[in-house]
C-alpha cells in the first residue's frame, strides 16, 4: 500500500484540515431499523443529493429491538446540514437523527490498526511512540508490528503521521463512533 505523505489529511474528518468557507463539520447519530438495504438508502441519499460523507459506521446496537446505529460525519453549509438532517429524518426506517456536534458535548472515538515494517532504531522508536499514544501491539514479527489504537480521529491522524517515516505499511480505521455526554440517551 502506497501511503503518500500527508494522505491522512485527505480523510475528511481530519480536524486540522480546513473546510471551505462557510462550511461546518457535524457528527450525526442515526437510529435505524436494522433491515436489509437501510445502509444503501442512507448512502444513496448522500450520493444522490451530493452531500459529503467523511466517515460512516454502522452496526446493530439493539438486537431485540432490531435497531442499528449509524454514525456519519458530514460537512456542509448550515443550510445544507439542516437539509441533510431533514432528509434523513423523513426516511421511513429512520427512528431518530441527532446532531452530536450542535446538540451539546459528545465523545467521538475511532479504532485503528496500524502496520509498520521496520528494524533497528525505527523499530525501537515506533514502540516508544506506541507507549506514548497508549496503543497496543496486537501482532508482531521480527520485522513488523500491528498496533491497535483508539482515540479521537485527530489522535489517530497524528499517530499515523508519526509512523510514516518509521515504516508504515497499512492502516485500517473503523470510522467514528460517537455518543453524547451526560445521562440522556438518544
Amino acid at each position: 500500500m502506497d501511503l503518500k505523505r500527508g494522505s491522512s489529511s485527505h480523510s475528511a474528518y481530519h480536524l486540522r484540515s480546513n473546510l471551505p468557507e462557510g462550511e461546518e463539520r457535524r457528527t450525526l447519530s442515526v437510529l435505524v431499523d436494522n433491515e436489509a438495504g437501510v445502509l444503501a438508502r442512507v448512502i444513496g441519499l448522500f450520493s444522490g443529493r451530493g452531500y459529503n460523507i467523511e466517515s460512516l459506521t454502522v452496526t446493530e446496537t439493539d438486537h431485540t429491538g432490531h435497531l442499528s446505529r449509524i454514525t456519519v460525519v458530514t460537512t456542509g453549509t448550515p443550510m445544507v446540514l439542516e437539509q441533510i438532517k431533514a432528509q434523513l429524518d423523513r426516511m421511513i426506517p429512520i427512528h431518530r437523527v441527532r446532531d452530536l456536534t450542535s446538540e451539546g458535548p459528545s465523545v467521538q472515538r475511532e479504532l485503528a490498526l496500524v502496520k509498520v515494517a521496520n528494524t533497528g532504531e525505527h523499530r525501537v522508536e515506533s514502540l516508544r511512540l506506541k507507549d506514548a499514544f497508549r496503543a497496543q501491539v496486537v501482532d508482531a514479527t521480527l520485522e513488523s508490528f500491528v498496533f491497535e489504537l483508539t482515540g479521537a480521529p485527530d489522535k489517530i491522524d497524528a499517530f499515523v503521521d508519526l509512523m510514516r517515516p518509521l515504516g508504515l505499511v497499512d492502516v485500517s480505521r473503523t470510522g467514528v463512533a460517537a455518543i453524547s455526554r451526560g445521562p440522556e440517551g438518544m
Binding site: 444513496g44 443550510m79 439542516e82 429524518d89 423523513r90
Partner: protein
C-alpha cells in the same frame, strides 16, 4: 384473527381491504399468480395498459383526480424498469401510488435469472419507500404499510416487490388495522406558537401574498375550502404554482393567476414586491424563485409544509410551520379570528391598487389571427367550450401547450388539473387521462397535448378504446418540439437542432386506426364547431388542431432572472435575443 391463504390471494385481499377499486397493470411471468387471483374476483377492476409507463401515469391521474392512491401492477425486469419514469414523476409531484412488481423467486434472486432486475435498487431513489417481501407471512403487513406510507405525510409512490414463490406460498393474512411503520409518524398538527407568529406577521402586512401549491391539493378538498375562507377573511391576494391550480378558484376576485417562469405579470410582480409571503404547501421550486438572491427580497416568509425537508431547502423561512395544510389553516383561521380578524386594511387597499396596475398590463393578451389558429386562441376556445359543458378534468403533456393550458383554462375546484410539473414528463397526458376517466366515467376529460408528447404514449388510445373511455386528446399541432424550439430561439441563436416533428402521422387516420374518432381543424372560424363536436362524441377523440408553428409562450422569466424581469408577448426581437445572458443559460 388471521387466515391462511396464498401470497397472491393476500395481495388481492389487501387491495380490497384498502378500498382499491381499480388497478392499472400489465401481466408477465412473475405476476401470473396475482393475475390468476384477479381473474377469480369481481370487486377490483383491472385496466390493461399498453406500456407499464402508461400504468403509472394512469394511476397518477386516478390519484390526483380522486385523492385516493393509484395502484399499479407490473411484472419483473422490463415491467418494473418501464414503470420507473412514472415512479419518479409521482415522487416529484407528491402523488400517492402503490406499485406492485413481480420478482423472480427468492431462491433465484442474484443469479441473473430470466427477467430479473434489482428492482429495489433501481427504484430506491424514485420511491418514498420500497420493500422486497421474502416471506408470505409478511406480505399482508407490508401491503398495508405500503398504503400507509404512500398516503400519509407527504404523499408519494411506494413499491412492493413480490417474488413469485412468495405469491404461491401460503401465509397468514392480517387486516389493515393500524399497520404502520414503527419509525414513521408524520406530523399533521403544527405548534400553535408558530401559527400565532404567522398571524402576527399577517396582521401587520402591507403587501401580503398567499403563494399556494400542490400541498393544498394533497391535503384534500377541505384544505381548498379553508384556503378560500382564509383568503376571504383577510382579503389578501393569492397566486399558485402550476401544481396548486384550482385550490383557490380562478373565478375568485383575489386570484392573480399562476406565478413562476410562465406565470402572470401581476403574480410575479406581487411575489417580488410583497412584504409578507404566506407559502401554503409549495416548495420554492426553481421555476418559481428564479434568481434566488433577487427572490422577494423585502419579504418575511411564512412556510406551511408537511415535509420538514421542504422548509429552508432553497429559501429561508422566517416562520416555518410543519403540518398538514388543512390542519394548519383551520388553526390559523381560528387564531386570526380570535385576535379580532385584524389586517392593515389601508395598507392592503393600497397594495391592491398597485396590483390593479399590473393586472392592467393584460399579460396574457396575444396577437390573434383570422387565418391561422393561434395556440392560445385554441386553448381559450377549448376553455370556453368546456365551461359551457360544465365540470371538466384536464390533463396535459409537457411543453408550450402545457403552459398555455395553465394560463388560459380556469380551474375553480381542486383535483381537476393533472399535469407533470416536477419531472416534466412528455407522454404523461394520455395515460393520465385514462386514469382520470376511469375514476370519473361520466365527466369530460381532455388532454391538452403537443404532437411530439402525444407520440410518446399514444398507444394508450388503444386502452381508452378497450375500456370505452371517451377521453379527448386536443393536440396543439405546431409540428415542432415547441418548448425546445422556443429555447433554441432565445438561447441558441435560432439554430433549431432536432426540434422539428418530422414525418408526423396523419392523426385523423391514426384515430380511425385505433377505432376512435379523428377531427382536424386548421381555421380559426371552424374551431368552435369542431371543439363542440369533440365534446359531443361519446368516444375517444384525437383532435388535430393545426396551429401557428413559431408562437412563443409568454410571459416568460428567462432563467437566471428576477421576477420583475419578465418577457411579455409584445417583447421585440432585441429584447428577446438579449433575454438570456450566458450566466442564465446554464440553468434549465
Amino acid at each position: 384473527m388471521s387466515d391462511t391463504m396464498t401470497g397472491a390471494e393476500i395481495v388481492i385481499k389487501a387491495l380490497i381491504d384498502q378500498g382499491v377499486e381499480v388497478v392499472f397493470g400489465y401481466p408477465g411471468g412473475a405476476v401470473l399468480p396475482i393475475y390468476d387471483e384477479l381473474f377469480k374476483q369481481n370487486s377490483i377492476k383491472h385496466v390493461l395498459v399498453r406500456h407499464e409507463q402508461g400504468a403509472t401515469h394512469a394511476a397518477e391521474g386516478y390519484a390526483r383526480s380522486t385523492g385516493k392512491p393509484g395502484v399499479v401492477l407490473v411484472t419483473s425486469g422490463p415491467g418494473a424498469t418501464n414503470a420507473v419514469t412514472g415512479l419518479q414523476d409521482a415522487l416529484m409531484d407528491s402523488i400517492p401510488m402503490i406499485c406492485l412488481t413481480g420478482q423472480v423467486p427468492t431462491f433465484m434472486i442474484g443469479n441473473d435469472a430470466f427477467q430479473e432486475a434489482d428492482t429495489i435498487g433501481i427504484t430506491r431513489p424514485c420511491t418514498k419507500h420500497n420493500w422486497l417481501v421474502k416471506d408470505t407471512d409478511e406480505l399482508a403487513e407490508t401491503m398495508h404499510e405500503a398504503f400507509f406510507v404512500a398516503t400519509h405525510g407527504r404523499p408519494g409512490p411506494v413499491l412492493v416487490d413480490i417474488p413469485k414463490d412468495v405469491q404461491f406460498a401460503d401465509g397468514n393474512y392480517t387486516p389493515p388495522r393500524n399497520v404502520k411503520p414503527r419509525a414513521y409518524n408524520p406530523r399533521v398538527k403544527a405548534e400553535a406558537s408558530s401559527i400565532q407568529a404567522a398571524v402576527e406577521l399577517m396582521e401587520a402586512a402591507k403587501k401580503p401574498l398567499f403563494y399556494t401549491g400542490g400541498g393544498v391539493i394533497n391535503s384534500g378538498p377541505q384544505a381548498s375550502q379553508l384556503l378560500r375562507d382564509l383568503v376571504d377573511a383577510t382579503g389578501f391576494p393569492v397566486t399558485s404554482t402550476l401544481m396548486g391550480l384550482g385550490a383557490y378558484p380562478a373565478s375568485g376576485d383575489k386570484w392573480l393567476g399562476m406565478l413562476g417562469m410562465h406565470g402572470s405579470y401581476e403574480a410575479n410582480w406581487a411575489m417580488h414586491d410583497c412584504d409578507v409571503m404566506i407559502c401554503v404547501g409549495a416548495r420554492f421550486d426553481d421555476r418559481i424563485t428564479g434568481r434566488l438572491d433577487a427572490f422577494a427580497p423585502n419579504s418575511k416568509k411564512i412556510h406551511i409544509d408537511i415535509d420538514p425537508s421542504s422548509i429552508n431547502k432553497n429559501v429561508r423561512a422566517d416562520v416555518p410551520i410543519v403540518g398538514d395544510v388543512a390542519h394548519v389553516l383551520e388553526d390559523m383561521i381560528r387564531i386570526f379570528r380570535s385576535r379580532g380578524a385584524k389586517t392593515d386594511q389601508a395598507g392592503v387597499a393600497d397594495w391592491w391598487k398597485i396590483i390593479a396596475e399590473w393586472q392592467a398590463k393584460k399579460c396574457f393578451n396575444f396577437k390573434n389571427s383570422d387565418t391561422l389558429i393561434k395556440p392560445q386562441y385554441a386553448v381559450q376556445r377549448l376553455a370556453a367550450a368546456m365551461q359551457n359543458h360544465g365540470d371538466y378534468y384536464v390533463t396535459t403533456e409537457v411543453g408550450q401547450h402545457q403552459m398555455w393550458a395553465a394560463q388560459y383554462i380556469p380551474f375553480n375546484a381542486p383535483n381537476r388539473w393533472m399535469t407533470s410539473g416536477g419531472l416534466g414528463t412528455m407522454g404523461y397526458g394520455v395515460p393520465a387521462a385514462v386514469g382520470v376517466q376511469m375514476a370519473h366515467p361520466d365527466s369530460l376529460v381532455v388532454d391538452v397535448a403537443g404532437e411530439a408528447s402525444f407520440l410518446m404514449t399514444m398507444q394508450e388510445m388503444s386502452t381508452a378504446v378497450q375500456y370505452r373511455l371517451p377521453i379527448k386528446i386536443f393536440i396543439l399541432n405546431n409540428e415542432r418540439l415547441g418548448m425546445v424550439r422556443q429555447w433554441q430561439e432565445l438561447l441558441h441563436g435560432e439554430r433549431y437542432s432536432s426540434s422539428y416533428s418530422e414525418a408526423l402521422p396523419d392523426f385523423v387516420k391514426l384515430a380511425e386506426a385505433f377505432g376512435c374518432v379523428g377531427l382536424r381543424c386548421d381555421k380559426p372560424g371552424d374551431l368552435d364547431g369542431a371543439i363542440d363536436e369533440m365534446i359531443k362524441v361519446d368516444q375517444p377523440v384525437i383532435f388535430d388542431c393545426l396551429v401557428e408553428k413559431h408562437e412563443n409562450c409568454f410571459p416568460m422569466i428567462p432563467s437566471g432572472k428576477a421576477h420583475n424581469d419578465m418577457l411579455l408577448g409584445d417583447a421585440d426581437e432585441e429584447e428577446i435575443s438579449n433575454a438570456i445572458k450566458s450566466d442564465g443559460a446554464v440553468m434549465v
